[in-house]
């Protein structure tokens, strides 16, 4: 009985993990598709004055 319950828990956890992973990958691809990377790059290649406490 205990083994069965543990098996079910493992199965549920695996399903949840795989779902979150796939969901994350889909979000990431959608973000790349709508050009969010350009915003990230633009922010990251300029010295961010707020980040370093100036300005």
């Amino acid at each position: 009985m205990n083994n069965l319950r543990n098996g079910l828990k493992v199965q549920q956890r695996l399903t949840a993990s795989v779902s979150v992973l796939l969901f994350g990958i889909c979000l990431m691809l959608y973000g790349i598709h709508r050009d969010e990377m350009a915003v990230v790059l633009n922010k990251a290649v300029h010295i961010c004055l707020e980040c370093i406490g100036l300005g």
């Binding site: 994350g24 959608y30 973000g31 990377m37 990230v40 961010c48 707020e50 406490g53």
Partner: protein
């Protein structure tokens, strides 16, 4: 008996050295442009399209990648978007693969704090409620303020970077101020707030193990919530565990793995695994 404990100590030392080596390599990869320190500039190449998994200011002269928390605020606060699918998806995917093992193995700021904690001083434990502060910081400073407080063009400021994050000042501001005297004219009240955060973080990290990680880090908060689902994880064989409590006593993150292996505070450092005399704990990729 003596041989067994020597063996155990050897194992523990070798594991902690292996972890340190991985942390140093991760630090080096995340900050590979060391030469920029003397030239007073930052790296501007295409790798900055991508986020590092750990907290590392992208205004640090040596930084090779974007900071995920900075990038999240930049996109959330930008004119065209209110939520970054790219960065959120990245954090979910990395978090579900590794959980807070990123904190234990790959975050440069985590390594800095561990080194600070080596400075001799009385070591103390934080009250348990303080760990919830980081969730408030995540919601208020990272998710809400950059979207809600905007200028006339609809652009929000990165509130976490501006008021809280000590990494920007430690890794970016101090080196840049030393090479760019003209920047010193722009020092204002924000500078004092950030300097205070740096002092609190340094003093806190000397006394408390990973003070910033425990109390302030929004990235640790996200990865911690994903510990429950992550493929890289800690498990316990309850048939082997004799409840001796050795694992909880060695844990510097104040976790009791017997009670909860998926604690949001566990950074998967493995100290408990090697302290267990019955080999009841296991750390690694598992179903």
């Amino acid at each position: 008996m003596k041989m067994m404990s020597e063996n155990n100590i050897f194992h523990r030392i070798s594991f902690s050295i292996k972890r340190k080596i991985i942390q140093i390599v991760a630090f080096g990869i995340t900050n590979s442009h060391i030469g920029n320190f003397t030239q007073g500039k930052i790296y501007t190449g295409k790798w900055k399209n991508f986020c590092a998994p750990g907290l590392n200011c992208y205004s640090c002269p040596a930084a090779s990648f974007a900071c995920p928390i900075g990038a999240l605020q930049a996109v959330n606060g930008s004119m065209n978007f209110d939520l970054s699918f790219y960065v959120t998806g990245f954090l979910l995917a990395i978090g579900v693969l590794f959980g807070r093992a990123i904190c234990g193995f790959a975050c440069p700021f985590g390594l800095i704090q561990e080194l600070l904690n080596k400075i001799p001083s009385p070591k103390k434990k934080l009250p348990g409620w303080m760990k919830y502060i980081k969730y408030a910081i995540l919601v208020i400073f990272v998710l809400c303020l950059p979207v809600l407080v905007t200028n006339y063009m609809g652009v929000g400021k990165p509130a976490f970077c501006e008021f809280i994050c000590p990494a920007g000042m430690l890794e970016g501001s101090l080196p840049l101020l030393s090479t760019h005297p003209e920047l010193r004219a722009t020092i204002g009240p924000i500078f004092s707030i950030k300097l205070l955060m740096v002092i609190i973080t340094i003093a806190g990290s000397i006394i408390f193990h990973r003070f910033f990680c425990k109390v302030f880090c929004p990235l640790g908060a996200i990865y911690g919530l994903l510990n429950r689902f992550s493929f890289f994880r800690l498990t316990i064989d309850r048939n082997l565990c004799v409840n001796c409590g050795k694992c909880a006593r060695v844990c510097k993150m104040d976790v009791d793995p017997v009670k909860n292996c998926d604690s949001t505070e566990c950074i998967r450092c493995g100290a408990c695994v090697h302290a267990c005399p019955k080999k009841a704990l296991r750390l690694g990729f598992q179903k």
